[in-house]
Symmetry: C2
Subunit: 258 residues, 2 copies
DNA sequence: ACAAAAGTGTTGTCTTTACACCCATGG
DNA sequence: CCATGGGTGTAAAGACAACACTTTTGT
């Protein structure tokens, strides 16, 4: 089946395989060059950028669905994925979708009462991924998929700006009682790197000496014997997460002061 | 329209007014006699206890819907209500509902493909209410509505036990960075009362002298000149929440140690 | 030798915890 | 006058915040 046929099939008969009235949208955070990034898609029609999202298959769990959607856009499996809120209160989400004309580019007959145009709640997940491992892929509905700096995000379709806000707020909050970083950083990283990551996300300067103390004393990160070559400067030591203590902290929670 | 007619109308044509495939369930916490309570409904059929829940009207926000459901069962308006998770992963929630026979008590023809029997995600809210103000009301589907001690909750229908667990975990977590109590206690309360409330929910003994210090120093509770008469013992002072500081703390967050 | 970034420890302050005796009331 | 629960302060320990000079490396 070619793309156009697949698209047509999905638009006209998708409700047989997918739940109507519900979608999933993922805020996918990456970190690169001291900037927090988010992965966005550019729609063919209606024109505009949005979060990557999708529908829930009728025989699929929400977690699996989100993880499928994410893997389709990034190529990654088994990444950190967290359900944070279900959106149904904004004006966009209390009525039917009205852009039947705007959808004409697809050359598929939607029809007034197409299932995709009905009121749709969206279950929001956020993901933390290693920027360097992602190969952004657009889908049938979209022309382009790429990273945006979190502070340059354009006006998005629907309530997606609100979703990113809430995802970010949740992430920030979470950083105080769970370790993060395992999914955003390469396996081996330096203290300045993780320090910058925390400063970037929290938008706050953190003491260069005090910051790592806690993580080290909790056993969450371990110093390696290797150093990273960073050109014309002193080579910093590499560290890595101690997965055992990290997971324990994730599970039991902790309280970071910063 | 009488009850039976209403029921029939809802079962057979409800999908015109309500979103299919989605419901809302509320974990309503109350506090009485040093025990944390939760409000449960006893279904006519399938027999068993469950959380109070309902469907989302097509033109209604989720928040409003939850608050309507809650007010129908408790008679209360404007109470603390928090969306905490959307459930769709348990086996019950990945398939159609199979108990067509079990539904026969209603004397309404459901039919194999009734909208109510399709896979249903549930958006979980939890509420904190003043036990003494609640007048539990069953609905068309249920015989009885009453409080259960949180540790005596019976096996519930579907994944509702899991929901209560998660609601409680969320509540406990929340207590460390937001004040609670305003919605669970009467307007005026004593230090032993709020102390017991916290101990009960957190399942932890809290120092009788240290505990109130924080709340008082943050300005969240204020001492009144009145005392409460508790019979044959020294009359304890009454306190009340300072709504200004309380709401500020709710909004900005705080960090309680306990 | 210089510029740029990394590495490292101590001290003062604040927060948290632990703890015990006296007081008020009703029966 | 006794039983029960309420009220109150201080000191020690631990956590946190502030802070500056030296080392490494490449050009």
């Amino acid at each position: 089946m070619n793309s156009q046929k697949k698209l047509e099939q999905f638009i006209q008969h998708g409700y047989k395989d997918y739940l109507p009235n519900v979608s999933i949208d993922c805020t996918i955070f990456g970190y690169h060059d001291r900037k927090l990034k988010v992965l966005l898609l550019n729609w063919k029609t209606p024109e505009g950028w949005s979060l990557p999202g999708g529908r829930v298959k009728r025989n699929e769990s929400l977690q699996l669905s989100a993880s499928r959607i994410l893997s389709e856009r990034t190529g990654l499996e088994e990444i950190f994925l967290n359900q944070f809120h279900t959106f149904g209160d904004s004006v966009f989400r209390q009525q039917r979708f009205k852009h039947t004309k705007a959808l004409s580019k697809f050359n598929v007959d939607f029809g007034e009462d197409n299932w995709l145009l009905d009121r749709t709640l969206s279950i929001g997940f956020y993901a933390l991924v290693d920027y360097s491992l992602v190969n952004p892929q657009p889908d049938l509905f979209t022309e382009e998929c790429r990273w945006w700096d979190i502070y340059d995000v354009p006006g998005l379709l629907f309530d997606h700006n609100e979703m990113i806000e809430k995802a970010l707020a949740t992430l920030r909050h979470q950083m105080y009682y769970e370790p993060i970083g395992y999914n955003l950083l390469p396996e081996k990283f330096t203290l300045p790197e993780i320090h910058d990551l925390y400063e970037t996300i929290l938008e706050k300067t953190l003491d260069r000496r005090n910051f790592p103390k806690k993580l080290i004393s909790l056993g969450i990160i371990k110093k390696l014997k290797e150093r990273k070559n960073i050109g014309p400067h002193r080579a910093p030591f590499l560290y890595r997460f101690d997965k055992r203590n990290y997971d324990k902290a994730l599970k039991d929670g902790l309280s970071l002061s910063f």
